[in-house]
């Protein structure tokens, strides 16, 4: 059975939804962060699937760009998380609802 385009898209949708729900319901910053990464990769999967389906390489290029941005985001995001943890002794986002300490 040859994999169809719709399979990839369905998987991608499932992954993206898990990511969205995770960001909304998780309180732990690290978990939320991982959910964001999950969403990014779900999108990457869509790109790759379409690229192979349309025989067009530009989708693959997009994936590279997304991965670069995700790497940068991971660097900055983890830095912020560490800073928050140092200040508040907690990784709960709801504790960080006020800008003042």
């Amino acid at each position: 059975m040859v994999p169809q385009l719709s399979w990839y898209l369905a998987l991608s949708a499932v992954l993206f939804t898990i990511g969205v729900v995770g960001v909304l319901i998780k309180r732990n910053v690290i978990s939320m962060f991982m959910c964001i990464e999950l969403m990014l990769n779900a999108v990457n999967l869509t790109f790759v699937a379409f690229s192979s389906y349309f025989r067009d390489v530009s989708g693959q290029l997009f994936v590279f760009i997304v991965m670069t941005v995700a790497a940068a985001e991971a660097a900055v995001g983890l830095g912020i998380i560490i800073a928050i943890f140092r200040n508040r002794e907690s990784l709960d986002v709801d504790d960080a609802s006020v800008l003042k300490l």
Binding site: V20, V23, L24, I25, R27, M32, V93, D94, A96, S97, V98, L99
Partner: protein, 720 residues
């Protein structure tokens, strides 16, 4: 047409003086320096004005005006206004007496204002006034004239309110300014309407003179048919409308009947200001404008009719009030209004030259009288109430003698200047005839004029008697005064003023004595031989437009009205009349005889007035006058009740409480409240929980995606 840049120096010298006094004088605070700058700059103007007036091809001797085109000020479409000056015979006469009288008053003021804290300010304003007044006179188009017109209004405002610590000064200044604004409204509309008229006639212009690229608006109007004598001509937008609107401007500036209330209050200013602005020069600007635009007025018989009526009514009205005033300056103020009424009456019957002649002689004798009163006030230590004067001729002989000259001049006693001009106005009023007006109208005007002349002589005599004759009433008053204030000093004796004040008084007295001799009418000069022609009239007559003749029959009838044969007048035998008549065929023998009779009548009127005044007030200087007159016919109260209070009430109840508080404030506050309420609602979005933000972003994303899902096809087609 001669071009010379000297002309602009006449107006810019006082401006420079004003600037120097304002910028340098206020730091130096040196009275000698300030006085020198002020008098010097006006002196420069005077010298140049006389040079340009009397040089061999000067404005008064040649036939062409002297022009000075500085720059084109406004050029919009067909509308063009230049910053250009012009000195023809009319503006020349004005420039001469304004600079001369102005110079004398400046000199007087250096003495009068001695020791005042605002010395530099006073002279800066006074110089600025000279600049504005000369711009008004010399401007070669209506708009530049209007600039000067507003300038003198501003300076008048500043100088009336000069004594900032005086309670009545600020409201008086405001009153003058507002009354003038009402007049200016008419003036501006008149200018616009005149431009529109000339534009429709194919030669759009507001200029008085033919210049390169501009034809004279007055010439254009002069070429139009004469307006009919109907009331609806006022609103028809024709020449009559222009004339009436311009005359509204003149009533404001020259304090004629609807707008006369400001001038008496303007006496709150320093006396030199009253002499210069509110007697000699600025208030005659209305007459100047009417005479300058005589071409417009002669083409609007109804406007002439209105001018004559307003003038005569104001003359009589103000003269009766002048009878009952006790403030020496107030008497002179009402006298000024009355004399201005005379001038407008002369304009209204077409005797423009006589009006200008009276403006000139009035400038001399009224400036003299005002400065004389200033000298009295100065000598009396700022006492203005004539009830506390009396017997001053012993203490202030020079002031007394010089004021006698002004007094005799305004009463119209022969030789003195006022005699010739006033007599000419009365004679022209009697003998003139307006087209479309009943014949008796001029006779009625003459009667009003004659009564006014009588009243003038009475109240001026009263002023002189109360001030200079009789018991020395200041003594008792001052004793009381000293007791009240526990001064401990001896009574202040009135003293004669310093030379800087008496010399201008003497010069002006000489001018008011002999100044009228430039305009001796033929009927009188022919009695003695010598100069047969009326020099003044001969100079000015070509400049002004004359009333078109409408049938000789009416005037013929008038001549036979007095059925007396030629009579010996002034001791000369009647034969002389005929002889002189032979020499000048132009003059009608009967008319000359009649003119002489009328001259005699007006002399008698003057003498009668003086004797009435003398016998009424010599013994009883404090005689009570009718209350109605003392209270100025309650004009101020009537205006207050009918105009000012309604405006105040409408402003307070309607505009302020209803509109401002209700609508404007309601709008502003309502807007603010709406914004606050909206903010209160929306701020719950910013609670600080990251997951809430994420949810909002998600919702937004879903909405956008939903939109594309439904309308995607359209959007994509659009993008392509």
């Amino acid at each position: 047409m001669t071009q010379t840049n000297l002309l602009s120096l006449i107006i810019f010298a006082p401006l420079a003086g004003a600037l120097i006094n304002w910028l340098v004088g206020r730091r130096l605070r040196n009275e000698r320096f300030i006085g020198l700058v002020a008098c010097g700059s006006v002196g420069v103007s005077t010298i140049i004005a006389f040079y340009l007036g009397f040089k061999s091809d000067g404005a008064l001797r040649g036939t062409q005006p002297i022009m000075d085109h500085l720059w084109t000020w406004i050029q919009v479409g067909a509308f063009r206004a230049d910053f250009g000056l012009a000195m023809d015979r009319l503006s020349g006469i004005y420039a001469l007496f304004v600079t001369l009288v102005g110079l004398l008053i400046h000199i007087f003021a250096t003495g009068y204002m001695h020791g005042d804290r605002g010395y530099y300010r006073f002279f800066a304003y006074l110089n600025l006034f000279m600049f504005a007044m000369l711009t008004l006179i010399l401007g070669d188009n209506l708009l530049l004239m209007f600039v000067g017109w507003e300038g003198v209004g501003l300076c008048s405002y500043l100088l009336i309110g000069y004594y900032i610590d005086k309670e009545e000064a600020a409201p008086a200044a405001k009153k003058a300014f507002i009354a003038n604004r009402v007049g200016d409204w008419g003036f501006v509309l008149g200018i616009l309407l005149l431009f529109w008229l000339t534009w429709r006639a194919g030669a759009p212009s507001i200029s008085f003179f033919d210049k390169t690229g501009v034809t004279s608006a007055l010439a254009t109007v002069a070429g139009m048919p004469i307006d009919g004598f109907t009331w609806h001509a006022i609103f028809a937008g024709g020449i009559t409308s222009v004339a009436v609107l311009l005359f509204i401007g003149a009533t404001g500036k020259s304090a004629q009947i609807p707008l006369l209330v400001w001038l008496p209050d303007a006496m709150a200013g320093p006396t030199p200001v009253s002499a210069l602005i509110h007697a000699a020069t600025m208030v005659t600007a209305g007459v100047y404008m009417v005479v300058r635009c005589s071409a417009i007025f002669t083409h609007a018989p109804l406007a002439m009719f209105i001018v004559a009526i307003i003038g005569a009514a104001t003359a009589l009205f103000a003269a009766t009030i002048g009878l009952a005033q006790n403030d020496i300056k107030k008497v002179l103020a009402y006298s000024t209004i009355s004399q201005l009424g005379y001038m407008f009456m002369a304009c209204g019957v077409g005797a423009f030259v006589a009006a200008i002649f009276h403006v000139m002689t009035h400038a001399f004798f009224k400036a003299q009288l005002f400065l004389g009163s200033g000298s009295v006030i100065h000598g009396m230590h700022h006492e203005q109430d004539m009830r506390r004067m009396g017997g001053l001729r012993k203490y202030m002989p020079i002031t007394w003698l010089t004021m006698c000259a002004g007094w005799l001049a305004i009463c119209g006693i022969p030789i003195w200047a006022g005699f010739f001009s006033k007599d000419e106005i009365l004679w022209k009023t009697w003998s003139g005839h307006l087209p479309g007006v009943p014949v008796g109208f001029n006779k009625a005007l003459w009667f009003v004029g004659a009564v006014t002349a009588l009243l003038t002589a009475v109240y001026m005599t009263r002023l002189m008697v109360m001030t200079f004759w009789g018991s020395e009433r200041f003594r008792e008053e001052h004793v009381e005064h000293v007791h009240e204030h526990d001064h401990g000093h001896a009574v202040h004796e009135p003293r004669e003023s310093p030379l800087s004040m008496t010399i201008p008084l003497i010069v002006l007295a000489l001018l008011s004595t002999f100044g009228g001799l430039v305009g001796v009418p033929y009927a009188l000069s022919s009695l003695t031989g010598g100069h047969p022609e009326n020099y003044f009239e001969q100079r000015l007559a070509p400049i002004v437009s004359s009333v078109p003749e409408h049938g000789e029959g009416a005037t013929e009838g008038d001549i036979h009205w007095l059925s007396t044969p030629p009579q010996p007048v002034d001791g000369k035998p009647a034969v002389e009349v005929a002889k002189a008549d032979h020499a000048e065929a132009v003059h009608n023998a009967e008319e000359i005889t009649q003119e002489r009779i009328f001259t005699l009548i007006s002399v008698l009127i003057g003498l009668t007035g003086i004797s009435i005044g003398w016998f009424m007030f010599r013994q009883q200087p404090l005689r009570h006058m009718p209350r109605l007159l003392e209270n100025k016919y309650y004009v101020d109260e009537i205006y207050d009740a009918t105009i000012i209070q309604p405006i105040l009430v409408v402003s307070r109840e309607g505009l302020w409480k209803l509109f401002d508080i209700g609508v404007i404030d309601g709008l502003v506050h309502g807007l603010g409240r709406t914004v606050i309420r909206f903010g209160k609602t929306v701020r719950y979005m910013q609670i600080g929980f990251v997951r809430a933000y994420a949810a909002i972003i998600l919702a937004g994303a879903i909405i956008i995606i939903g939109y594309f899902a439904y309308n995607g096809a359209h959007v994509l087609r659009f993008l392509k």
